[in-house]
């Protein structure tokens, strides 16, 4: 009996193996044939497939590598979200570095690349400045009539890495080296312009705008007062000193000796006080094209450290943000130096919000020191109901305003 059963199992196994060999072996051939059929309907791709730089899976009719021919929850029947689909083959593009280009981080590869074919190399959807200036509008890049030659020609990739870099501005080389790979700092004119300070090996872009400016020297528009007056020794040692670029006060004291009001802000309960000349984490000590001598766009400066806030704000589930947060005007509500209020807010929550939302100061759900949130037993403020930095709900509410929000406290309803 047992022998018969054993024989039966072996027969079933062999039969299954045979079926697998016949069906499995035939599968790739039939698949290839069927994917060739794709082009019978998708006629627009017939020309593209002939292009020299066509994407290899597309050229080899491996449409199934990216698309599901029957159904998908993603647009264009792609198997996965674009970013993760591309990264399944192009591993680590711009993600291994400290800073990633926004489309890379968000997985919007198709902002720059055509997934099938392109006349331009690297499957780019456009050439040079035609591509970059699509997002980085020329008006925001060139802040004056004078343009730096590579930028004017749209040779953005000469200096920038489009996927990612360990540099904040996605530079190919670090700031100390990138300019001197073309420009010399050793000629007499340059030396005189820099008041004989040894600027070789320093960050040229801390004073010069590498894209364009109003004047020939490409110096940024807003100048720090001592810098504008050529009074370098207000902060630095003399050019003849052993360490000419050294500072004449230790750490942040060099800045705070003049900026007394800011010094007071750093004495508050919550503050951004760090080691060294930490002011230059956010500000440029010489010249800047931003207000307040900021070293870049405010949002970028803040997100440099507050990465998780950036993740939260750009999360796909986040549908609503406070308009100022959306614009990246972090300092509309937060004091970046120091504050005696929660979350580095510039004022207490109620005063701060009603300074803009004036109607709510007199007409709103009861808020303020005389109210009590029954859940936490603290006073009710605007952020009791609103999650201004990231929310799934209309008016940036903590919960769905139609019901869920109210019954948090009004339980009997």
């Amino acid at each position: 009996m047992w022998q018969k059963k054993k024989l039966l199992y072996i027969c079933i196994f062999l039969l299954l193996a045979l079926i697998y060999a016949v069906a499995g072996g035939a599968h790739p051939a039939t698949a290839k044939t069927s994917f060739k059929k794709c082009l019978e309907c998708h006629k627009d791709l017939q020309k593209e497939i002939k292009l020299k730089g066509a994407h290899a899976p597309f050229k080899n009719f491996n449409c199934g590598g990216c698309h599901n021919p029957h159904a998908s929850k993603h647009k264009s029947l792609v198997k996965r979200e674009i970013g993760s689909l591309c990264k399944s083959c192009h591993k680590g593009k711009g993600l291994k570095q400290k800073f990633s280009h926004d489309p890379v981080e968000k997985g919007n590869c198709l902002e720059c690349h055509d997934p099938h074919a392109s006349k331009d190399r690297n499957l780019l959807v456009a050439k040079g400045k035609g591509l970059c200036f699509k997002c980085h509008k020329a008006g925001s890049v060139f802040l004056g009539k004078i343009k730096h030659e590579p930028a004017r020609k749209g040779l953005c990739l000469k200096c920038h890495n489009p996927h990612g870099s360990d540099d904040f501005s996605l530079l190919r080389k670090n700031k100390e080296k990138i300019c001197i790979s073309c420009h010399s700092t050793e000629n007499a004119k340059t030396k005189k312009a820099h008041k004989f300070y040894p600027v070789s090996g320093t960050e040229c872009v801390s004073c010069h705008n590498p894209h364009g400016a109003k004047k020939d020297d490409l110096i940024k528009q807003n100048k720090h007062k001592p810098f504008a007056k050529g009074n370098c020794q207000k902060c630095h040692n003399s050019p003849e000193a052993r360490n000419p670029l050294g500072l004449n006060k230790k750490g942040s004291l060099v800045c705070l000796q003049c900026h007394k009001k800011v010094d007071e802000d750093f004495n508050k309960i919550n503050n951004h006080f760090f080691d060294g000349v930490f002011c230059i984490n956010c500000h440029n000590p010489h010249a800047s094209d931003q207000s307040g001598m900021k070293k870049g766009v405010l949002k970028k400066i803040c997100f440099n450290c507050h990465q998780d806030t950036k993740w939260r704000m750009s999360d796909k589930k986040t549908k609503f943000l406070h308009p100022e947060a959306k614009k990246g005007n972090c300092n509309s509500c937060h004091d970046p130096h120091g504050s005696n209020f929660r979350l580095l807010l510039v004022n207490n929550e109620f005063e701060l919000c009603t300074s803009c939302h004036k109607r709510h100061a007199s007409f709103s759900h009861p808020v303020g020191v005389n109210t009590i949130d029954p859940r936490s037993k603290r006073d009710i403020s605007c952020i009791t109901c609103h999650a201004l930095m990231a929310s799934k709900h209309e008016f940036a509410l903590q919960f769905d305003g139609k019901k869920e929000l109210c019954i948090q406290c009004h339980i009997s309803y």
């Binding site: 004495n267 080691d275 998780d308 993740w311 929660r342 859940r375 936490s376 037993k377 006073d379 009791t384």
Partner: protein, 298 residues
Amino acid sequence: MIKKYILVFNIFLLLIVPLKAYGKKDAINIITTLGSNQDIGILGLIGGVFFDEIKKRLYITDSSNCRILSYDSEFNYLSALHPKGDLKNPTSILRIIDGRFLVVEPAKRNVVVIDVAQKLINLLDLAEVPDSAAFNPGRMTIDPEGNIYIIDRANNRILVFNSNLKFNKEVIKESKIRFNDIKVDRQGYIYTLSTLEGIVRKYDRSGKKILEFGSRGKDRDEFSFPTSLAVDNKGLIYIVDQHKNKIFVFDKKGKFVFNFSGLGWIEGRLSMPSYIFINSSDTIFIVDRNNSRVSIFK
């Protein structure tokens, strides 16, 4: 027969696995919360928490209202120390063996020494501290021998003072590391937390680094914005993640074990927690900043 074994095994799995998971989370429960009430009025920004093992008293600094609140071991409110004018915005707090309080005072960029018995308030003597001109105190902690460890934010270092408040040494100095919190365990190992890096570091008494773990990221065991740490008697390391509103627990080797709590307003939940302190009986005190209270877990 085999079917029976499989059935028994499945039932065993169903019983054991959830029980084990439940056991871990259930191990930490909320005991009570200390917040605004009629006795203390409105609690402002809470700067620090310290449990005095000698007197069995809990102290909370109410930074906004310039006062130190004290509670007994059952967490009943006792009194408020309110040295008007001498204390502006107290943050980190501890009590040394002789009963004096040390309080970090950001407005003075120094540590205030309060002798309640003598009614004396002085600044910590920094005369022997190198580079003391740029000193800016962050958080503090005390070891079982009574030595005091203070983060100097201006110089990226940890300063050690003995129990008589005499400067002893500079135990850790790392030019590129920003220390946001510090604790010392019962064996004298020093733990530091760097918020922006999301890294916890463990050092021996001499300041030699022996363990480093953690990172910021979106994964379950990664931090969003870690702000404080503490170590319990078993050597488990607790990290407060202010933006995930959770407490992460790691073992002695830095391996993620579990997390507890989450965003919320009711007791046991947290909203922007900022600080953690664990006393010798493993009671966990968490400054629940947005809920304006101290949540006590065990």
